[in-house]
Symmetry: C2
Subunit: 433 residues, 2 copies
Amino acid sequence: MAILLDTKSADFEPRFATLLGAKREDSPDVDETVAAIIAEVRARGDAALIEYTERFDRLTLKPDGLAFSDADIDRITAQVPPAEREALDIAAERIRAYHARQRPEDAEWQDDSGATLGWRWSAVPAAGLYVPGGLASYPSSVLMNAIPAKVAGVGRLVVTVPTPDGAINPLVLLAARIAGVDEIYRVGGAQAIAALAYGTETIRPVAKITGPGNAYVAAAKRRVFGKVGIDMIAGPSEILVIADRDNDPDWIALDLLAQAEHDESAQSILITDDADFAAAVTRAVEARLERLERRAIAAASWRDFGAVILVRDLDEAAMLSNRIAPEHLMLCVSDPQPLAAQCHHAGAIFLGQWTPEAIGDYVAGPNHVLPTARSARFSSGLSVLDFLKRTTLTRMTPEALRRIGPAAAVLARSESLEAHGLSVSARLDHLNR
Amino acid sequence: MAILLDTKSADFEPRFATLLGAKREDSPDVDETVAAIIAEVRARGDAALIEYTERFDRLTLKPDGLAFSDADIDRITAQVPPAEREALDIAAERIRAYHARQRPEDAEWQDDSGATLGWRWSAVPAAGLYVPGGLASYPSSVLMNAIPAKVAGVGRLVVTVPTPDGAINPLVLLAARIAGVDEIYRVGGAQAIAALAYGTETIRPVAKITGPGNAYVAAAKRRVFGKVGIDMIAGPSEILVIADRDNDPDWIALDLLAQAEHDESAQSILITDDADFAAAVTRAVEARLERLERRAIAAASWRDFGAVILVRDLDEAAMLSNRIAPEHLMLCVSDPQPLAAQCHHAGAIFLGQWTPEAIGDYVAGPNHVLPTARSARFSSGLSVLDFLKRTTLTRMTPEALRRIGPAAAVLARSESLEAHGLSVSARLDHLNR
């Protein structure tokens, strides 16, 4: 049973602060193991990948078996039933259409001084996408990571995915193919991250690595950061639903449980201004929990991290939402637009009762890789921008240098950087000769 | 004396690879010390800040003396001579004008299904800017960090700067005032980063921390990352100059030395297609080094990390530039535009002989906080985007849910996430009733 808070209670503030501060993840310290694995892959390349795959995935590979061949992919993806194939196509098309609008513009202009200024965006030359094996091997995440990279224009997009005992989810391979992934390798764990960052005989290195993974993968990403770019390290998933009483309690219960079923550390919070509705949702959650396939996980998450918060009005709801800065925010109220305008910190907002968060996990179009653990205060979900970088452009004319160069020379001298100043004044001296 | 490479030599490839792989920074491992400092500041707040400031900066502060008062700032900035004041104003105005163009657009549209999709940008609520003390206390860096934050709309912008023995660079305070900084505190080191991330009685926490610092500051930023956002950890500065023989060797020598004088780990590389010009630049560097104020630093940098590379033609120069991915790239050739189009990985490009890199350090307008150590392959310089985050927006209608909901339900089932599917299908069942 989730905790129940009421903003009118005297002890609300300390209890809310406890809720905000609750640490929901206990990452094992695997840093030394990971450092050793990375060093081995750097030193021995494919041979190390093959040994780790034998040890961790109980799978014997040859160097030419590291990659899935086109024939492998044809054969395995042929198993996908038509309904799932069609659903993946719909999702890919909508995700592509949404992300295509994120492509930023280059710019170039001349200013008063005659200087030409601007910037130019260009794609990261090669990117690697880590895909977990087993239960968390989600084809939807393959689409959400791979499509923005391809929309950005990444020339070479590589997937690594562990195949424990040789098992692979055919939908993962199909999603990779639909998204335009160029190479897929049967390796996982820290060894896959090391291969992507440093390269081996078979796997050429990439410049950016994205995608979720376990504690080993996360630690490896942190370690190779700097050598390559990485995405954020995602924490457990979370949702905040703000709902008035004009909602079906069962729908809201299912939205809360859809987060809770992800894992035991996930967090689902309901904020409402109606005590009876709060009670009805709580009862609906309990009822649904009795038969849910993943009830053990969802019940633990709801018990340990779930919360129902009673507020005086929607303004108060918005204020609390800004303190929570949720990854997912559903606004199930009759007029969600003004409420959305008050919610400044959220990874993704879902407006109105016809927009269950799960629609955003798969087919709405926006990315489902979103900032967790209050980081929506300062970061954004995955986008095309994560696979682009910007080069700034400056071109002075003699006249422009004459006008603004003296200020640069003054500042250089004030910072005791003589050569900086001389590089400007030598040119000015020539112009003034 | 810098090394001389020639692409026509048999041993070029291994020697160039060595140049690329040279590790230019040896960060001391200060992680344990930093962890202890952060823990102390979290536990004891202002009292810990005051103790560390006493110990490291030999300065006794009271809690109400942590901040510079307006009167302090008035008094200290009054010492700045008019020429420097005017130069800072010119720089600030040009930096502001450039960054104002970086503000991204919000978007909202309706798609075929009737769903309304979009995104909204909003500012990070509060940001902290670390400013080093002593020699590396650059007013230009204050402008380059603070102005993008204010252009983004950051409501509260805080500066921390150590004042060893009570000393402060008046230009730093003036730059902060010109840029619109809201609070300035006399603290530095890991303790300042801890205060910005976790807050103390006097210093409220921020959501994002940027700015350069020593090994302690860098380690502290890495540690608080996740709790708050941070900018990249910058390495030693570097420049690549591509120049044909129609240049004054002395100007190019000064451009190379302007990087070299930053610190002994800085790197300056010249690529040219003319052996005589290469020799002339090398002679000019040696001549300038004889009298340069910072000749000890610049000479060490040029000796240990400098390089002159002879190429067959400019196409080859562009190819090498893309492997170097320099922070700063000067193109001193008669027609720099086509060459710039071939250079895909660079933090900032300076086109033509009238655009010394130093102009970009101070007054051109683009940011001088740029990706180092080959990270221009996957990252960008500081910009307004670093102080904004994006919230995605989705609003379905009953009709839109009817059209795309079934695909979401199929994918949810395929991922064994039953509640995800039920949250969609419960609504669809209602619509189809």
